[in-house]
């Protein structure tokens, strides 16, 4: 975690702030639909436009969902909490303040475990607080670039959408860790079914606070907030770039100033935006329009009880079921349908490793090629169990099983019927194979002599001959067995 440079050894320190838009039906403080893809300015009302006299009312589901997120991250739900006003002027915030939280966030003190290159670490979660999203600005004129815009167009559909901000502790030290944290957090949010968490559409967004300090220095360096990363890859690149920039800047005699910098994906650099207003300049005060919330254990208990299994715990369970770590890690956060198929098939007697391998490898590959979703195929848990039985009974070779799987996915029918119809059933009837084997022995007396004499490697030769005359349909295990019996 230490960066060595010409002048010495530096420790980068990274904290991540993640914003997640909740997919509630209605907005945080009013009944407008949450649908950021709707025609601009069609989901607006006096509350989210800040018309005079309009009053906010808290959407209870949003509070339940932030509690769900917090509990999943091991946070405590603050029993007595309030909303606060964060005051600033910007065209996307019509009231002149954002309703947010300050010293009493709904959730505090949690953690998320991450792993980079096999090294596990725990990232502390300082808080998760509830707030409202801002409107969407579009900078008009000269290609929409913010610096050269001649005017700004504002769409208030997003204004007031429930937004959860999750603030990590400064526990990360590399771009790769920042990326792993963001990815793990997204998996948790998806598992909780509270947001679609789409990076490219902005329903999940992250900012990184990056600072560097000389190795061993107890005080944190001045932090720079890096924004505008819209993929995990750009988050990692932006953080690594900012670390190098700060070290180079300090080494050339400069001082890092507290500021917000914009990541530019195209040139791979961060660019200064404006001096960040200090926290006190937001003049937070308790929101007088909203009474406090009392979220006691009676309120929290049902939410805690209804928490779904999280990807990390599920992966551990899958490993216990016998899956290799790789398959468990792929399957645990996979689509609900894939997991359901896996769990039902195993529950009905399917072999966990075999079923997982089909789902993780062959089914995934088939779906990608066919450009479709698992939900759109007729594949059932029963099909997977049946397919497993055909393989176990020696009726299908493993490669034939994959072909059958493709036919089942394409809707051609159930495995046994499909295998039959496509002539893929192995000959596992000893009687049927024996005459073929006898003919081959008769045609190759010399080889047979050597085989009988103990030349084991000739097994391959005979099995190959049998496979050739049966057009690949003989069960190789059975053929070897018969050969051994005859010798």
């Amino acid at each position: 975690m230490i960066v060595e440079s010409a002048s010495g050894r530096w420790e980068p320190v990274i904290g991540i702030e993640v914003h997640v838009e909740l997919e509630t039906k209605s907005k945080m403080f009013c009944g407008c639909t949450v649908d950021t893809e709707a025609e601009p300015n069609t989901n607006v009302c006096p509350v989210c436009l800040a018309l005079p006299g309009a009053l906010p009312v808290i959407n209870e589901r949003a509070i339940e969902w932030i509690a769900r997120i917090g509990l999943a991250l091991g946070c405590t739900v603050t029993p007595d909490t309030v909303f606060s006003r964060k005051n600033y002027f910007y065209a996307d915030i019509p009231k002149g303040y954002q309703i947010s939280q300050f010293d009493l966030p709904v959730c505090a003190d949690g953690h998320l475990d991450i792993e980079v290159d096999g090294v596990a670490s725990r990232v502390g979660i300082e808080r998760a607080h509830m707030e409202e999203d801002t409107a969407k600005s579009q900078h008009a004129g000269d290609g929409g670039r913010i610096h050269t815009a001649t005017s700004t167009l504002v769409d208030f559909n997003r204004a007031g959408v429930p937004l959860v901000e999750i603030v990590s502790r400064p526990d990360m030290h590399t771009g790769a860790q920042a990326r792993a944290y963001a990815q793990a957090l997204r998996q948790v949010v998806l598992a909780l079914d509270v947001s679609d968490a789409k990076l490219e559409e902005g329903s999940m967004r992250f900012d990184a606070n990056v600072s560097v300090r000389p190795e061993g220095e107890p005080e944190l360096g001045t932090k720079v907030e890096v924004k505008n990363m819209n993929s995990f890859r750009s988050l990692e690149r932006a953080v690594d770039h900012e670390i190098s920039r700060q070290i180079a800047h300090i080494e050339s005699g400069g001082t890092v100033i507290q500021e917000t910098r914009h990541w530019d994906e195209a040139d791979g650099r961060t660019h200064g935006m404006r001096t960040k207003e200090g926290s006190s300049d937001y003049r937070y005060f308790t929101e007088p329009d909203l009474p406090p919330m009392h979220l006691d254990e009676d309120w929290v208990a049902p939410i805690r009880a209804a928490l779904p299994e999280l990807p990390e715990a599920r992966a551990a369970r899958y490993r216990q079921m016998g899956l290799e770590a790789g398959a468990a890690d792929v399957l645990a956060p996979a689509s609900p349908r894939a997991r359901e198929l896996f769990e039902s098939a195993v529950g009905a007697g399917g072999d966990p490793r075999q079923v997982a391998n089909w789902l993780v490898q062959d089914v995934t590959a088939w779906l990608r090629k066919a450009d479709t979703d698992l939900e759109a195929t007729p594949l059932s848990a029963g099909h997977l169990v049946e397919l497993g039985r055909l393989v176990d009974d020696g009726k299908l070779s493993s490669s034939a099983a994959v072909m059958v799987l493709g036919h089942v996915l394409a809707g051609d029918g159930a495995p046994a019927g499909v295998a039959e119809a496509n002539d893929l059933i192995q000959i596992s009837d000893a009687g049927a194979l024996e005459s073929a084997i006898d003919e081959i022995i008769a045609a190759n007396p010399e080889e047979w002599e050597r085989y009988v004499g103990g030349e084991q490697k000739l097994t391959g030769f005979f099995v190959g001959q049998v496979m050739r005359v049966t057009q690949g349909k003989a069960d190789p295990k059975l053929v070897s067995q018969i050969l051994r019996d005859k010798a």
């Binding site: 209605s26 300015n41 002027f89 008009a140 009392h294």
Partner: protein, 96 residues
């Protein structure tokens, strides 16, 4: 004991344009308000439950239900400047 306030800074944060000659007067008045707040800070509150709201009510929630929004045409008509679909405001950042 009057409290020193950077009135120009406070005015800037609130986007208020105050004439130079009024700054001292506002400073004095704001100072009195802060003195009052300081006096309240001094009150013995040991054993008093904190309160964030005068009415003592909590958890005034609404169910997550959609209610009709306003008509866009009517809404945009109220704005000083708009396009057919958007509010239009001056550029968000100076060109500098």
């Amino acid at each position: 004991m009057p409290i020193e306030i950077d009135v120009a800074h406070v005015a800037r944060l609130a986007r208020l344009s105050l004439p130079e000659e009024d700054l001292a007067r506002y400073g004095e008045q704001l100072g009195l308000i802060l003195e009052h707040a300081a006096a309240i800070q001094g009150v013995e509150t040991e054993g008093v439950e904190p309160t964030a709201h005068p009415l003592g009510i909590v958890n005034r929630f609404r169910p997550d239900e959609v209610r009709p929004s306003l008509d866009r045409g009517v809404v945009l008509e109220q704005a000083p400047d708009s396009t057919e679909t958007h509010f239009r405001v001056p550029p968000a950042l100076d060109a500098s």
